[in-house]
Symmetry: C4
Subunit: 211 residues, 4 copies
Amino acid sequence: MSDTPAQRETARAEAFSDGVFAIAITLLILDIKVPAEQALPAGTSLSDRWLLHALGRQWPGYVAYLMSFATILVMWVNHHRIFALLRKTDHAFLFWNGLLLMLISIVPFPTSLLATYFMTPAARVVAAVYAGHGVLIALAFQGVWQHLVRNEHLLMPGTKAEVAWLTAQYRFGPLMYLIAFGLAFLSAWASIGLCLAFAVFFSLQGFTQKG
Amino acid sequence: MSDTPAQRETARAEAFSDGVFAIAITLLILDIKVPAEQALPAGTSLSDRWLLHALGRQWPGYVAYLMSFATILVMWVNHHRIFALLRKTDHAFLFWNGLLLMLISIVPFPTSLLATYFMTPAARVVAAVYAGHGVLIALAFQGVWQHLVRNEHLLMPGTKAEVAWLTAQYRFGPLMYLIAFGLAFLSAWASIGLCLAFAVFFSLQGFTQKG
Amino acid sequence: MSDTPAQRETARAEAFSDGVFAIAITLLILDIKVPAEQALPAGTSLSDRWLLHALGRQWPGYVAYLMSFATILVMWVNHHRIFALLRKTDHAFLFWNGLLLMLISIVPFPTSLLATYFMTPAARVVAAVYAGHGVLIALAFQGVWQHLVRNEHLLMPGTKAEVAWLTAQYRFGPLMYLIAFGLAFLSAWASIGLCLAFAVFFSLQGFTQKG
Amino acid sequence: MSDTPAQRETARAEAFSDGVFAIAITLLILDIKVPAEQALPAGTSLSDRWLLHALGRQWPGYVAYLMSFATILVMWVNHHRIFALLRKTDHAFLFWNGLLLMLISIVPFPTSLLATYFMTPAARVVAAVYAGHGVLIALAFQGVWQHLVRNEHLLMPGTKAEVAWLTAQYRFGPLMYLIAFGLAFLSAWASIGLCLAFAVFFSLQGFTQKG
C-alpha cells in the first residue's frame, strides 16, 4: 500500500527534524579546541607535560560536551516517540516543531559559553544561560506535545494510554530546568551539577522502561 | 506498489534539498561567537557584569540568527509544498532547484555580515547585502515555481486550483525584498526591520491557513 | 512488494553518499569570511565605502565558491544517475564510492586555498592544486563507473544503451582537468578559467539533454 | 506490505546514525587549514615556493585526515552490517548506539590534535590520545554487538552463522588499538604507524570477502 500524502508530509517533517538533530549533535565537537601553541607561557618549552596539562585544563569543555550530547540525544529519542504517535501534522504543529529545532540547533552556543567561562568569575552567568536554555527547550517540547494532546485528530487512534503516560513523563521538564536556572544565581557548580544529573538521569532512564 | 523511477528521482532530489536546508539552518549558530576574553578592556576584571554586557552587545547577531532561521524554515515549508505537487522533475527544474539551494546555503554569510557590522557606520552596506540576498532567493524561488507552472506535465494531475492559489501567494516575494533592498540606502534600520517583519509574517501566516 | 536486501543496501549507500554531498556543498560557505574590522588600515575610519571595498577584494572567494558549488552539484547529479542504474553493490564498488566521497568532502580545502592565494604571487600553486584535485575527482568517478561497466551483474538489466552513452559522456573528464592542471604551470588565470568553463558547461549541459 | 512499527523505529535509528556518520566524516576537512599569510617569516616574500613548502609542512594533517576518514568509513560499513541483521531495537541498544555515535563524532578532535602536535616534542601525548580514542570506539562497538548477541530476539531469524562469523571478526578490535595505545608511550611514530596500518587493512579487507 502506498503512503498517503499525510503520512508522506509527516515523514518529511520527521526526516528534516532528524537532520537538524544529527547536525547539531555533531557540530558540538567543533567547540572543543586543540590547545594553541601560542598559549605556551614564555620560557616554557613545548613538551608532553605541557600539552597534557593544557588538555586537562579544558575539562569544563569535555563535561559540557558530554552533557549537551546526552541532552540532544535524549531530546531526539523523545521527539522520535512523539512522531511515532503522529497521524498527521498541521501548521501549528510545524511551528512548534520549528521552534524546538531552533532551540536544539542553538545548543552549541550555551555549551561553548560554559566551556569558556565556567572556571572564571563569570561562571554564574554562563550557568544561568545554560540552564535557562534548558528551560526554553523544555517549554518548546511542552508546546509541541500539548498541541497534540489538545488536537487528538493529529494522533493515531488507540494511543490514549501512551499519551497519558507521556504527558505525565514530560510534565516536570520545565520545572526541573527552572530550578537549575534559579540555582545558578547562588552557585554555578550546583546549577550545572543539576543539569548534568538531569542528562545522566534521562539517558539511563530508558533501561528501566519497557523496551 | 513499488515507486516508479520518476517518483524515486523526485524523492532523491527532495532528500538532497532537505539535507542542504537542514545543514544551512543548523550552521547559522556557528556565527554566534562566545565573547573573547581578549576583548576585556585593560584595567577591567572578568566578571559576571562584564560577560553579561558583552553578551548583550551582540544583540544584532541574535536578531540576525532568528530572522535567518525563520527565513530558511519558511523557505523549507514552501519548498516542501512544491515537491508535494511534483509528478516528476526535468533538468531545468533541477537547475533552478540547485540555484535555490545555493542561495539558501549562502544565507549564513549575509547573516554574519549583519551581525558584525549592523551597529557600525557600514550598516547600510550590510542591510543592502542582506535584503539583496533576499531578492535573489525570492527570484530563484519564482524560477523554480514558474518553470513548473509553464510545464504542467511536471505537476500531479488535479492540482490546478492549488497551483493558482500558490502562484498568487508567491507573486509578491521578490517585490517585498526589493523594497527592503531599496530602503537600505536610506536607513539600515528600516530595511532590516522590514526583513524581520517579513520573516515574522511568513512564519505566522500558516496559522490562518488551512492545516 | 517489499524491497529486497540488495535494494536496501544500495539505498543506504545512496543515502549516505547524498548526506556527504549535501554537507560538503553546504560547508563551502564557511570559507567566505566576513571582512575583519582589524583589517581596517590605521587612520581609516570604518565606513560603507571601506566595507564595500573589503567585500569586493574578496572576489576570488566568490568565484571559487560558485565554481565548487557547481562542481559538487554536477557530481551529485552524475552520482545519482549511476545509482539509478544500480541493481546491487559489492565491496569494490563501496571502496571506489568511498574514495569519491572523500575527494568530494575535500573540495572545501582547495577552494579555500584558491580564495586566499589566487591574487598573490603563489597563484600557480593554488591553481595547480585546484585543477589537480579536479583530476583526482574525475579519476575516482571513472573508477566507480568502470567497475560497474566491467561487472554487469551489478547493473539493472536492459540498461546497455544508457551505459554506453554514459561511458562516452564520462570519457573526457580526467583529460579535461589534466589540461587545466598542466595550464596552471603557465598561467593560474588560464587554468582556473578553464575549470570555471567546465563547471558552467556541465551545469548547463542538462538543458540540451533528454529530461 | 507496509513496514511494521519495529521496522520503522529501526529505520529511523539507522537514518539518524547515518546522518551522524556522514557529518562527522565531512567535518574532518575543516581541520585542514589554509597556511596563514601571517606565518610568512619576516624578510621572505610570498611565493609559489613558500606556499608549496608551507603546504608540505602540513603533511601530518593530511595523513591524519586520510586515516580518520578511512576509520569512520569502515565503522560505517560495519554499523551498516549490524543494522542489516537487526529485527528490532531496545533501549539498551539505543544507549550503546548513542555512545558509539558520540565517539564517532568526537573523531575530529584527536585528528586535529595529531595534525597539530605530531611533529613536536608532545607527539607521544597526541599519539596516545588518538590510539586511546580508537580503543574507546572499538569497545563501544563491542558493546553494541555483544548486546545483540546476548539478546537474540533483537536479531533477524536465520542469521546465526553470520553472527558467529562477525563475532570472530570483531573480537580483536579493542586489543589491536590497545597495543597501539601502549606503543604510544615508547614511540609516537610506531603507534600512529600501527593505527594507519589498521585503517588501510580494514579498508582493503572487503576485497577478499564475499561481496
